[in-house]
């Protein structure tokens, strides 16, 4: 609970820190979308990695706890992926003159987001055995993550390279990393909450089984 309060305060302060950061010379005001876009994209990729690792451990170890973690992470991948895929085009419309470009970074991100959706849909409608089928999907989602990250360095596309972030001026870097910590803390809190929901569902299933016996 104290962490949730701290996170709320940080999110309330973030717009003021972002507003104080310098304007980017060529893009101006719209570049400030970056301070929410990049952290949410990072959380999107982190969710896909956690979902993939937990799914692998579930597939090869059979631990239901890992399955619950994977399920929770997949839902967060959909959430943060949606934020990334909406804030990106809003920025691109002004900076690039188009809402969307089928370049490698954008297309692979969309693919990763669709894999996360597929995971949730398989879990919901797949019937018995869908947990293992979904776990297999999560491995593909995780394999896509390094491709999303490094693609901009190998294919010269309209999307900026990964080398942009380390070269940011101190003023912009402070705002970015503050936002990043905000999103990371929120991600941890949401993941814990979502895993707790899965645990409660598992407990409910166990109670129904106990009553039936």
């Amino acid at each position: 609970m104290p962490l949730a309060g701290l996170n709320a305060v940080m999110f309330a302060a973030a717009p003021f820190i972002i507003a104080r950061a310098d304007y980017e010379a060529t893009m101006g005001l719209v570049q400030k979308i970056f301070y929410y876009h990049m952290p949410s994209a990072s959380m999107f990729l982190l969710s896909a990695v956690i979902c993939g690792i937990a799914s692998a451990r579930f597939l090869f170890g059979g631990s239901p706890r890992q399955d619950r973690l994977a399920h929770a992470a997949a839902e967060l991948a959909v959430l943060f992926g949606a934020i990334t895929l909406v804030t990106g085009p809003l920025w691109a419309r002004k900076a690039w003159g188009v809402w969307w470009a089928w370049d490698v970074r954008l297309t692979s991100s969309l693919m990763g987001w669709m894999v996360a959706w597929a995971y949730l849909l398989v879990r919901k409608y797949g019937g018995p055995g869908s947990d293992k089928l979904a776990a297999g999907l999560a491995l593909f989602g995780m394999a896509n993550v390094p491709f999303v990250y490094i693609s901009v360095n190998y294919w010269r596309t309209i999307h900026p390279k990964t080398s942009v972030v380390p070269t940011l001026p101190a003023d912009m870097g402070t705002a970015l990393w503050f936002s990043f910590v905000c999103f990371l803390l929120l991600f941890i809190l949401l993941l814990r909450l979502r895993v707790h929901l899965e645990e409660q569902r598992a407990r409910l299933d166990a109670l129904y089984l106990a009553l039936d016996e």
Partner: protein, 107 residues
């Protein structure tokens, strides 16, 4: 006969004179100047900073920025509410079942 010929010559001269004067006057009137046509825009085959674009090509940044931030806040709040609602429902059902088991009955 001679008088008629002189009359006709005078009429012809008058017409010629009128035509000449008309041409002279119209030549002295200022002609409307052709409007200068705007130069066609140069083809942009290289990067142009937003600040250097002509005003009609510039999009206002504020609505895009506000939309992006609003979407983030709405999505996060919506998700938080959704998880909270689901959790409350499941926990309520768990408590109900646990009390039923404790009583030895099932409703």
């Amino acid at each position: 006969m001679v008088k008629r010929t002189e009359t006709r010559r005078g009429a012809v001269l008058s017409v010629l004179l009128a035509v000449f004067i008309g041409i002279s006057v119209s030549a002295q009137q200022p002609q409307p100047q052709p409007q200068p046509q705007p130069a066609p825009p140069a083809a942009t085959d290289e990067f142009v900073p937003i600040s250097q674009l002509p005003p009609q090509d510039q999009l206002p940044a504020a609505p895009l920025l506000i939309s992006a931030y609003a979407f983030v806040w709405v999505a996060l709040f919506g998700y938080l509410l959704s998880v909270g609602r689901r959790l409350t429902k499941v926990q309520g059902e768990v408590q109900r079942l646990e009390s039923d088991i404790a009583k030895g009955t099932r409703t």
